[in-house]
Amino acid sequence: MTPIRTAALAALTLGAASVAKADDLTVGMITTLSGGGAGLGVDVRDGFQLALDMAGDHGIRLVIEDDAQRPELAVQIAERMIQSERADILTGIIWSNLAMAVVPSTVAQDIFYLSPNAGPSALAGANCHPNYFNVAWQNDMLHEAAGQHANELGYENTFIMAPNYPAGTDALTGFKRYYEGELAGELFTQVGQTDYAAEIAEIRASGADSVFIFLPGGMGISFMRQYEGSGVDLPIISAGFSFDQDVLPAMGEAALGVINTSQWSPDLDNDANAEFVAAFEDAYDRLPSLYASQGFDTANLILSAMAEADVSDMDAFRAALRAAEFTSVRGSFEFADNHHPVQTVYVREVVEEDGVLTNRIIGTAFEEHRDVHGENCSM
């Protein structure tokens, strides 16, 4: 732990002790803090914590536990948080397969679940639930934007690839929903795969004019490092997950110029975002990622609902969450009827600024975009 983090933690602990007032609400955060996916969970946690720190006297008791990216562990933690910690709200899960394991039973027990990241299609459609809110996106959304933008770039023969798990299938489905060209090839890789030589050989032999990938976390780093040296130089288009601040420093210049889509970007021009980016850099000494922005928005949504209603009155609190009266770092924020965001999706490019790789907005793929699964949701 860096000295700054230690100092920040110490300050938090002291701060918590000096407030010593009864907590109004308990939030249980189950997120990935160890293993290869830890970068994402740490960012969600830090973004969430930052929003609480900036709010000052917030009355939230935050309990954080590491799920190690294991579904069975996440289920156990969720049970413990509901039974022993008496959590009113659960949040924090990064991975769709973990969300599918935890969310349905949680919301059925009259506990709110606010997703700061995963948005599997099942929970947006037929299995939507009044107690489930997604503050990030439905999984397909950014991939749909990538498909849409591939058309604008004139790509006609794209090779598409994603890991074989719920978010991976959502990604390819989402891309294909808007992409109008031909597919040069379609591949599923293993979750956590580290060697992409076989896939790169397929891409080389496919005669594609472009490549769409969804490889979050370390998978994207491995792929880009190997792609760079392979002699294949087709343009890459992707959703922002594979090219955000958590992985860009490790990818290095291999990532320069990659086009990716996101609902957020560090250079997004609004006051809340400028304040968030500056405060995050100040507190943690690094640039925030989109995951951090989602954690930050999730905390602010909870705070806004607490200002309107007490969590013991579930209907009033649910209505306050649904209203989403908070200032999002994305600019405007609104829930559709299936409790998933209606939002603008931007097109970004990876650039180097002051020696740091980051993203810059170069266009807009969708205005006020909503997911297609809402049609199957009865709410």
Binding site: F188, D195, A201, G218, G231, A250
Partner: protein
């Protein structure tokens, strides 16, 4: 499907296999000589990669990083052997698994405390960047270098085991531990050296592979699982078995991922074929392991005849 694609996939399989060999050679040596199941072998791989990335970032020189990675992994291995492992030789395998699993958790968290949760940057050296033309196919120069490197290390290891005094002691240790101790060989020292040698090989693999993969906490565990498959197939304790097993696993895994989806695509639609093919390809090496266990329960080249 062209000849160039098949050739490229074969090269990929061989390269993958040789990197697996570096991992499994250390694992099988330690198991063969000391009878120890070392789950923390993957952590030594991770230490090699992290130290290589850190030193390469400071000095700007990959090769210095590589040496540092090997040295750090060997030093960590020797330290672990003296402090922890030495107490486990007389215990049963379950105790060893428990203790070395604890080591995985301790080392992973330790690395995270020092280097942070985000992956590190490690690039391939300038002289090995880009691709090279092999007649009908362009191939990554760095992967080609990995093949050469893997073969050189295998040759060096063979010379060490078959031609040197240390090699004789290692082979004797595999056959009869009490006897070589009775003959006056300092067995404690031998164990530390063998463990450090295995750790150095893991660190070397981690540093070499780290340049084209994500240098992150927990990177060693997926490779460790494959390395166990390799030594079970090859025969525990046998370097030759590790070599054959590693190449088999590398080539079969790569060719399975390459050919199975194509096979299913002949009678299923593309998306389905990709899903089924990918799922079956990931099982292929375990099926191979099961087959080997049925017909040659001691592996292809059992060390103790």
């Amino acid at each position: 499907m062209t000849l160039a694609l098949v050739l490229e996939q074969l090269l990929n399989g061989v390269q993958f296999g040789l990197m697996l060999f570096l991992m499994s050679a250390g694992l099988t040596l330690v198991f063969g000589v000391m009878g120890l199941i070392n789950l923390a072998h993957g952590s030594l791989y991770m230490i090699g990669a992290f130290c290589c990335a850190a030193i390469a970032a400071v000095t700007g020189n990959f090769w210095l990083g590589l040496i540092a990675g090997i040295a750090a992994a060997a030093a960590a291995g020797a330290l672990i052997e003296v402090v922890v492992i030495r107490r486990l030789y007389a215990r049963d395998h379950l105790d060893q698994v428990l203790a070395t699993f604890a080591l995985i958790l301790i080392l992973s968290e330790g690395v995270r405390m020092i280097f942070g949760p985000r992956p590190l940057y490690l690039n391939v050296p300038d002289m090995l960047r880009g691709s090279v033309n092999l007649g009908i196919v362009d191939y990554s120069l760095y992967r080609l270098a990995l093949i050469v490197f893997g073969l050189l290390v295998a040759l060096g290891l063979w010379l060490l085991i078959s031609k040197t005094r240390l090699g004789i002691q290692i082979r004797a240790g595999e056959s009869d531990r009490e006897m070589i101790a009775a003959l006056g060989v300092n067995i404690r020292w031998l164990y530390t050296v063998v463990f450090a040698l295995g750790a150095a090989l893991a660190g070397l693999a981690g540093a070499l592979v780290g340049a084209i993969q994500s240098v992150q906490v927990g990177m060693g565990e997926p490779v460790l699982i494959l390395a166990f498959v390799v030594i079970v197939i090859g025969g525990i304790g046998s370097i030759k078995g590790a070599m054959v097993g590693a190449l088999l696993v590398g080539v079969i895994d790569t060719m399975g991922r390459f050919l199975l989806p194509r096979f299913f695509a002949t009678f299923l639609d593309t998306s389905q074929a990709m899903g089924v093919g990918a799922a079956l390809a990931s099982m292929l090496i375990y099926l191979l392991m099961a087959l080997v266990l049925i017909f040659r329960p001691k592996g292809l080249f059992p060390a103790h005849g």
